[in-house]
Amino acid sequence: MDLLASALLTAFRLLLSGDAETWRVALLSLRVSLTATAISLLVGVPLGTWLALSRFPGRGALLALVNTGMGMPPVVAGLVITIFLWRSGPLGGLQLLYTPTAIVIAQIALSLPIVAGLSVAAIQQLDPRLRLQILALGATRLQYLWLMVRETRLPLLAAVMAGFGAVISEVGAAMMVGGNIQGETRVLTTATVLESSKGNFDVALALGIILLALVYAVNLALTWVQQRGRPP
């Protein structure tokens, strides 16, 4: 209990004292994870909608691939992205390894299948007769897709929350492609691992508490958007 109390005190001290490194780490965590989630949302929802509504040879295999990606181990994603971004790798010329951009790329690899896979399920659970109703109202193809997405906004926001939760809490990929470089690519999870390995459990726990608070704040905002106007 002493350790927990000490960690809480350390967390407040780190935040309230305006500790520059802590704030930088927290803001970088938020920035890379929100960017990765936003890109996954922009790509994953249309991809999921397309997979849910279209029929083509190999669709089942592609869907299975997306579903497999939902359980992608972060270290595997990190390893593959590292190989691609390595100096002698296919994308080595871009010099992105050990940059925040590399972390965003790795996090997209983790969150995109989650958003796309849950979007497929969300669209498919809609009453098929509602699809006919939308067309019967005179919707163009684009209007039809938009109304389908609008009708599934509740599960889609849940998909966004799941995607965000997966990337902000992962450590393996961020460590491998970011390198945990102080002042450049250190995020809350990699900093927590580092402090823990040094035996600074109070600081590590404090960083964990800050991470939880960030996740809670973002999910609180998303939940508000999801639940507004709905009766209890």
């Binding site: 006919l132 067309l135 019967a136 005179g138 009708e151 509740l154």
Partner: protein, 240 residues
């Protein structure tokens, strides 16, 4: 086969329409015309092919064979014929309302057509009032009773003032009193919207009350056509 009072030209023409599912023909209509104004009833028992016929008429189901013409214009269903579909409206067995307010539900078809906001507001309010649900405009659709939801779905279709209104057993799930109220109101609503209607029903009393002419289906084929009472008698569907 010609159904309805032959005035001008048919509004909807089906020729040689066939729909197959699982290796068997579930709808086979050599010829069917729907003439402007009035109500045409499509009657038959469960599984007769009524809803399939309605979906073909609504251009929501591509037949395996046959031609469809709307107001003389040939329609290719597979190409999402939005232009023709926007001259029709469909009310299904379930209200199928969107997860939004009553107002937004009724305005949805107008929004898809790019109708200006002031005009949409005026038309939505007018039709909500006409259907007796004007006071529910701001309510969320999911909080409506069955009768209120049905009135909202009718308003959503009628606000479009469609040339052709297709009704697929719209009163089937309603209680007796709500059903009687809506059956009494429907003719004047259709008059106000200047719409021709096709009413799919398995209830002969509904057909007799609303439609002057009818077609009866059995196993996907038209077995009788003409005046409603005669069709019901010929098809063995007369109410006792």
């Amino acid at each position: 086969m010609t159904v309805g009072a032959p005035r001008d030209a048919p509004l909807l023409e089906l020729r040689g329409v066939r729909v197959r599912r699982g290796g068997r023909t579930i709808l086979d209509v050599p010829s069917l015309d729907v003439w402007p104004r009035g109500v045409l009833a499509v009657v038959g028992r469960n599984g007769a092919g009524k809803s399939t016929l309605l979906q073909v008429m609504a251009l929501l189901l591509t037949p395996d064979a046959g031609d469809i013409r709307f107001a003389g214009e040939r329609v290719t269903v597979g190409r999402n014929p939005v232009g023709v579909r926007r001259r029709m409206a469909v009310v299904f067995q379930e209200p199928l309302l969107f997860d939004t307010s009553v107002f937004e539900n009724v305005a949805s078809g107008l929004r898809l057509r790019g109708v200006s906001r002031p005009e949409a507001r005026e038309r939505v309010q007018r039709w909500l009032t006409q259907l007796g649900v004007g006071h529910l405009a701001n309510r969320q659709a999911r909080t409506l009773s069955g009768g209120e939801a049905r009135r909202t779905s009718l308003a959503r279709a009628l606000v479009l003032e469609p040339q052709l209104l297709l009704l697929d057993e719209p009163f089937a799930a309603l209680d007796y009193f709500t059903r009687q109220e809506l059956l009494a109101e429907l003719p004047s609503l259709l008059e106000a919207a200047s719409s021709t209607a096709v009413l799919v029903t398995h209830d002969p009393t509904e057909a007799l009350r609303l439609a002057t002419c009818a077609v009866a289906l059995r196993d996907g084929q038209i077995v009788a056509e003409g005046q409603t009472d005669e069709v019901l008698l010929a098809a063995g569907l007369s109410p006792r």
